[in-house]
Symmetry: C2
Subunit: 199 residues, 2 copies
């Protein structure tokens, strides 16, 4: 369909490559950018262009960073004695947004999945063991997800960390807040019953 002039077609094609953006949405976004002030488009283009050049992984925790160490590793108010181990930068952001955590992180960049050929050496596990071995860490919170791979990764880490003098904890599984019991799946409900506590 050659209804649009070439530069517009090119932009629509590029936008529709983004996840969750279909051709209709790409058309709408392109039309918006066409009507928007020149500066808005330029600012968007330059922020996309600079992204890959400016973002790297924190050399200590492997979070996304714009410097050698990420903002959290650099922050003197964070407790360096606690490590929260997560699958991805997005999971780290989720924990940060909860506001419930003031320690440091360790981003694995994946979960163990032998079926998909993802072994311990494909993740940042060795780097985690080195961090713990160096000492100064009281607690390692295993905050991988509660999927099969998340659980498997947590138990692998738990096993490999057991030789160090640290407390190893796992985030709690249970009924999500605001959750209606009749819509909660059986496995979650079983976990929630098992982990019941006195009030």
């Amino acid at each position: 369909m050659n209804v649009y002039p070439a530069p517009l077609n090119r932009l629509i094609k590029n936008l529709s490559r983004l996840p969750g953006i279909g051709e209709k949405t790409a058309e709408r976004l392109a039309m918006h950018l066409l009507r928007a002030p020149q500066a808005e488009g330029m600012e968007l283009a330059s922020s996309i262009g600079e992204l890959k050049q400016k973002i790297r992984f924190c050399s200590r925790c492997f979070a996304l960073s714009d410097a050698e160490l990420c903002g959290i590793c650099r922050d003197p108010s964070r407790d360096p004695g606690v490590l929260c181990v997560v699958e991805s930068p997005a999971d780290m952001v989720a924990v940060e947004k909860s506001g419930a955590y003031t320690g440091l992180y360790h981003v694995l960049h994946g979960l163990l999945s032998p079926m998909d050929g993802i072994d311990p050496e494909d993740l940042r596990i060795q780097e985690l063991l080195v961090r713990v071995e160096k000492g100064g860490i009281r607690e390692v919170i295993l905050a991988t997800g509660t999927s099969l791979e998340g659980e498997a990764t947590a138990s692998y880490l738990s096993e490999n960390l057991s030789k160090y003098p640290v407390n190893i904890t796992r985030i709690a599984a249970g009924v999500p807040m605001g959750g209606d019991l009749k819509y909660v799946d059986q496995v979650t409900l079983k976990k929630a019953m098992e982990a019941r506590h006195a009030v």
Copy 2:
């Protein structure tokens, strides 16, 4: 929330300015661009950057174009004796995609709306009259929408074009194809009844 490094925050902020893109979607898109190959991001950035520089209005029909005349005005296989008058470039695209039209267009870039202060001189109406006055046009199809403003614009144009020797037609209003009568609004159904034809 300063969870992301600055360049990522900047991109998320810019993406969430786009229509229909909330903060969550902007985060997801930014994360995708971060993981995607460098070339994909660069290609997207450059297509956004070039858009405004390369797109202008066709000097004859005011459609979007990358040259003095748009692709349709340049196409010798299109019938120059028929003009389809539409509100916007997006409407023109919709008519083109229907595949039902082989003539030329005239894009008004708006609809008359005295309430919002949009008068005939704010639209490309004068240019339409000049095109018709020049001659060589047999039919002008008024293909503005069936909203109040669309109808008002169509009757204004019809009145002003009546002095020229051209057939003035209006796109048909009626029940949309695939439409279930019980879900069609009363005004549409009334129009459809009035415009009934022998089979």
